[in-house]
Amino acid sequence: MSGKGGGEGSAAMPSPLNPPHEWKFSQVFGERTAGEEVQEADIISAIEFDKSGDHLATGDRGGRVVLFERSDVKETMQYGSRRDLEKLDYTICRHPEFRYKTEFQSHEPEFDYLKSLEIEEKINKIRWCQTANGALFLLSTNDKTIKFWKVQEKKVKRLSEMNVDPPHTARNDRITSSTISSPKASLTNGGYSDRPHNLSNDFKFPPGGFPSLRLPMVACQGTSLASRCRRIYTHAHDYHINSISNNSDGETFISADDLRINLWNLEISSQSFNIVDVKPANMEDLTEVITSSEFHPSQCNTLAYSSSKGSIRLIDLRQSALCDNHSKLFEEHETPGSRSFFTEIIASISDIKFSKDGRHILSRDYMTLKLWDINMNSGPVASFQVHEYLRPKLCDLYENDSIFDKFECCLSGDGARVATGSYSNLFRVFGSFGSNEATTLEASKNPMRKQVATPAKPMRSLTRSIRRAAEIPRVDANGNSHNLSSKLLHLAWHPSENSIACAAANSLYMYYA
């Protein structure tokens, strides 16, 4: 078990077109100093790039959503064409860099009085929606409630030239309000002491109007980012929401909990349609729950959901209103004799992702990452061992509940590579087709640290696969080097560049190749 780094499904040589990547550290946000305690609320629980890759959002257990924007290309867009051209060479070889944009409190802790349940504010998933008019839109969800957010630059305005001046001219920097009592008080004898909109009907307007009236002058004083919750989709899930996903039609999205998947219209928060319901009539017959669900990136009528039994079902929304019958089922048949107590637990799929072209589905279960072709349901086209060295320790992992950790997975924009997280803040990148590329990286400023430090293979000129082959047993041999508490659950691949964002506790690390 220990010698194999990954890519077991692929026997071919590394493709010359796809040389293995040398991953480099790019950025870190929220880095801890040595010995600093991690605040529970700061732990990142969701990461998502938007479609263009110009923005990145993270959600945390404290219910906050933090937005980052790409800083390396933005500048070229902002300055004139001459500088644009000058920088062209430069920007091509540069990797994506992000900077903090804004953050907002998306969810607050709540209490369901009917069920006596606390509802955590933890952000389970973030999904970006269609940009419009320069404003960013995204959906964020906790266990029960989905919210639709708009983030937009708002002009900060300063008003002047009011008809009725505020009492203190020194305060004219704030937006004036006629609800201030003093101007009205001075006019009480005028009979307009109340809300002064009661113009009598026989009031005569001269044809030219009143020259003394004037409109407020508005002067713009820069901009500020404002986040507004536009819609709240709630009361539709009896169980915890594990995923949300936008449809390619731009007007609908799904939300999935353990037993049901609901379909929403973005503009209508008062109703949703139940499209999948796996709840048995008798809850004691329950054997399988929904663990993750995603819409096909381009076919509006196709969605996939994964289950705790390790199967992925593809659904055609055209077939019927309630899609309890899947149109395709992807399952790997277990090899006889290999069954153990843990077989079912580790088969549970924690995350699925469609590739950008919609041809493949990537799934992550506890021990492996599997790539499926949606036209072939006999078995995965490739499967990658993520941390095979843990297999003898499943019993311990079960004891301390680590076996139920839900690791996410992601594909590169071109679908040529896949990535997923592991323990000890490690994550792994595999070449998906035909290449046996398999890299292990640590979420730190020196992602290749482990490899470099390997004393037996000090020279970088050695082929990567050999070096890697040596590296995992070393970790294993150290015994304590796989740190179960520092698990890297969430990561996302930039949609068009070789750049990965991953969350190690409260820190967001970015790497490029």
Binding site: F137, T179, P196, F205, P216, D316, Q319, A321
Partner: protein
Amino acid sequence: MAMLDEPLYPIAILIDELKNEDIQLRLNSIRRLSTIARALGEERTRKELIPFLSENNDDDDEVLLAMAEELGVFIPYVGGVEYAHVLLPPLETLCTVEETCVRDKAVESLCRIGLQMKESEIVDWFVPLAKRLAAGEWFTARVSSCGLFHIAYPSSPDMLKAELRSIYGQLCQDDMPMVRRSAASNLGKFASTVEQSHLKADVMSMFEDLTHDDQDSVRLLAVEGCASLGKLLEPSECVSHILPVIINFSQDKSWRVRYMVANQLYELSEAVGPETTRSELVPAYVRLLRDNEAEVRIAAAGKVTKFSQILGPELAIQHILPCVKDLSSDSSQHVRSALASVIMGMAPVLRKDATIEQLLPIFLSLLKDEFPDVRLNIISKLDQVNQVIGIDLLSQSLLPAIVELAEDKHWRVRLAIIEYIPLLASQLGVRFFDDKLGALCMQWLEDKVFSIRDAAANNLKRLAEEFGPEWAMQHIVPQVLDNMNNPHYLYRMTFLHAISLLSPVMGADITFQKLLPVIINASKDRPPVAFVTIILCGFRVPNIKFNVAKVLQSFLPIVDSSVVEKTIRPCLVELTEDPDMDVRYFAGQALQSCDQLMISG
């Protein structure tokens, strides 16, 4: 400080509040935009207010929505139609916001203004605006533009028309599904302004594109366009161009598209004419009636009657009736329920023999359906049935169903059936009603649910109207009066209510002789002595008493003025001295009415 005349002060505030921090005040100011405009005068409205509004469009959606609405009727305030174009810029920016309802309202207002503009003005101002929006960077602008072409097109010269058609064609192929949806849903309106010659060439090819869209949501809207497009074309062209599309859609992979076809098929059949309907659409319709998806069958089942009417008896019996038979035992209750609500309409189409032979068994099986909705839908169309099959046959099968519904455990079902009782009564006749349903009507008065008791009281009144006071005197009044001794005050309230409803129907004499004494008695609200516990808990219930006051008030116009003076007034006077405040209040109210009656009478 600005110097202002006092009368101008409210307007000045109104203007200032256009920029207030409080959204309610801003909203209020926007809603009074016409007042502001009149105060500024037409010229300053054009030169200052409208540009001001154009610049300040990053407000909350509620404010923008109100602004879009106000601007649609703003022509008089900017100096009439010749200046209408100044209103376009602020609406143009509102057409680009991301909130759909604001955009829709802005488009609506633009169309409203465009309809009033002169042709040359349309060409100078409106068409460029539509083109700008159609070429907008964000999809929101392009979505809005689709709704403007039917205004822009008719006034444009030929060159421009060609351009507009090609722009619309591009919108139908936009990258964003939202834009294509908007283009699809506005295609009918646009097509109605396009000349016949271009209709066939350009518009039909756009339609073709939309019907082949890979987004189901776009195809759905294209189906909706079928009917309106079909009506624009000559019948022969409709048959050659639209019909194949419809037939195709009726077999679409997506149930939502088929559902739309099922909903639209009747309108489509009007467009293609009865001949083609019989030959071409019937197979498609039959397929929809037998669709796999319940939602589609529901939509199709709801059109059974309308469709049969076009087909005539032979074809209906031959093609539709077998499907109806299957639907009556459909696995989905909603399908059966949809069928039950329209199936009675088929009877006149099929004529009597076929109805009794073929339809009646279906009808009876639906009446015995396990779901109350299905039974209710049949009963609600009872008058139609009666005409066809006659009362004897009907009553045999009907009564068990009614009795069962009357005792259903869901109170909403009971409520629904009570509402049909007067209809039943009129169809069944007095004799039959007394035998079977009279007892039920009394039983509901003592239902556990207030809504049912309330409805039951109303029902008595409607029955009294149906069968006349004499019948009511025999069959309703004695029971109701007896029950005024009911130990439970809530039931006494119900009977009190029933009495007040009955009295106008029964007339002065009966009210005086029979009803009034009971009411007067109730004003003391003494429960029967036997119920010792109640006497101990509370001897008199104020709720009864103030309701008595209300009932007495309602009696005033019915009975003689002597009766008022002799009987009602003393009773009310006594109630005004009641320890309970509410009783005193309502008794006082009733006494006031007494006095007024005396003065006017």
